[in-house]
């Protein structure tokens, strides 16, 4: 079986005003259908840059990114992004229009069909009564739920989430993580999720790719993360193991 997303020895570099920075070097991984694949690492490991490359915003210097056998060359609606920033919704459109808009423009659906689908996904994220509200009247958590509904309504090959809950308060973040898992139970979409929180990675993912910083390289892959959630105390143990692995170079080795 071929993987849905195949990232092959990808090296990414980007320019700042003064220098050329290597974000990742020779990173490879494969994401299968219905995976909840998490890219985890400290800041500077190039995880967000990697996600942007999968999104098509950045061309790899070396290596190749393929989705369903097609090489990724530019952004497209087959890979819907959910960003961290609250301003990712179009402020001049209501919640319903925000979800409908890409269906009309990128999927070329009829307005009735698009609205019907948009409404069903707005229901899924429990924002039914806010369908006609403008984004600036919503809380941060609600905005992120709209962005998730917008991404899911497009029924993309893969949903790319760039620390979508990082700007939320701790209580809301916990609830959003549970909701995302609930949504996944319902539709089994494929998601590539970037985070710097080990706990979040364990909660969200079924596979976790650990990246080391400067430049970003693959350190390890954690599989069958789901099992840790079942056993009492297992996720705490896994969290400690991952933490030790990620930060072992920083001098506190036994």
């Amino acid at each position: 079986m071929t993987a849905l997303l195949d990232v092959q020895a990808v090296t990414l570099r980007y320019k700042t005003a003064t220098s050329l920075i290597t974000a990742t070097e020779g990173v490879s991984f494969k994401v299968n259908q219905s995976d909840r694949f998490v890219l985890l690492g400290p800041s500077g490991c190039g995880k967000s840059t990697l996600l942007k490359a999968v999104g098509g915003y950045l061309r790899p210097e070396a290596g190749e990114i393929r989705i369903k056998e097609r090489t990724v060359r530019k952004p497209g609606a087959d890979r819907m992004m959910v960003f961290q920033e609250f301003d990712q919704l179009l402020p001049w459109k209501t919640v319903l229009e925000n979800v409908t808009f890409p269906l009309l423009k990128a999927r070329r659906m009829s307005r009735r069909e698009a609205e019907q689908r948009a409404r069903s996904y707005i229901d899924k994220v429990r924002l039914t009564e806010f369908a006609n509200s403008y984004p600036h009247t919503l809380s941060g958590g609600m905005k992120q739920r709209v962005a998730i509904a917008r991404g899911m309504a497009m029924e993309p090959d893969i949903l790319l989430m760039d620390e979508p809950f990082a700007a939320l308060d701790a209580l809301t973040r916990r609830r959003m993580q549970d909701e995302l898992l609930q949504l996944w139970e319902d539709t089994r979409f494929t998601v590539l999720f970037v985070t710097h929180s080990i706990a979040e990675a364990i909660r969200i993912g079924n596979r976790i790719l650990l990246l080391s910083p400067h430049p970003g390289r693959v350190k390890a892959e954690v599989v069958d993360v789901d099992c840790a959630a079942v056993e009492e105390g297992a996720s705490a143990r896994l969290e400690r193991q991952i933490h030790d692995l990620l930060f072992e170079e920083e001098g506190h080795r036994e």
């Binding site: 952004p75 992004m81 179009l90 990128a106 403008y134």
Partner: protein, 289 residues
Amino acid sequence: MNAIKQATIQMRAETVAGDTDQVLERKLGWGELLWSNTTLRKTVLILILAAAWELYARHLDNPLTFPTLSDTLASLLDNIRSGILVDRAWTSLKILVTGYVAGVALAFTVTVLAINTRIGTDFLETMTAMFNPLPAIALLPLALIWFGLGNISLAFVLIHSVLWVVALNTHAGFLSVSQTLRMVGRNYGLSGLRYVAFILIPAAFPSILTGLKIGWAFAWRTLIAAELIFGVSSGKGGLGWFIFENRNVLDIPAVFAGLLSVIIIGLVVENVIFRTLERRTVRRWGMQG
């Protein structure tokens, strides 16, 4: 001694009893409500100013230099009834709208072309830096030589008065669109003109609207000034010509009536058209205070 302490939850009674002795919400009194109404406060101000005008002019008693408000209003009504003022205002507005629309369209074309290339951006920035400080009316003598007496000359200076300020604001607006929104737009597969129309223009709308408002004010002033200089074209004068003409026959109340019309039209466009546009767009979208 070694008893293990445990976290416990102790319920408190305060929230259980429903009544509070404080007032949670109090309706404002009539006086407070009226005074918080901006329109009402401004109307009161205008009425006071009008009364001051009337009293001072009566005290001065010299209709040749400073007519009373009542004379001015009477002249205004007369000229509206006879159709002259309406005709003149209509002539002014027609040429104004022509020049304004052409200027805005040109500004959009230039800006959209400019944002796609770095050299285009440089060109736009240089041109706006050069021409924005140049008062459009200063080009009128040249326009008269190039295009002769007539609407084309007027349209030329009007376009000049609108183009640069609208282009400048639109360009600044495009540049300030957040990186996230740009990425969202490209995620939808939008590019080229569709990207500009569906993402950049609405996202930059607050600055575009500011540009349109300033452009309108520039155009209106420029037009009246231009009409004062060369007056009639093809036998039909505008409001500026109306003012000029009546000064020549020393009908000073009519001059004041003309000035008042210029102010009123300016206020109506600003407060009705632009205010409505603002309320329906940037305010509703929460993109501006």
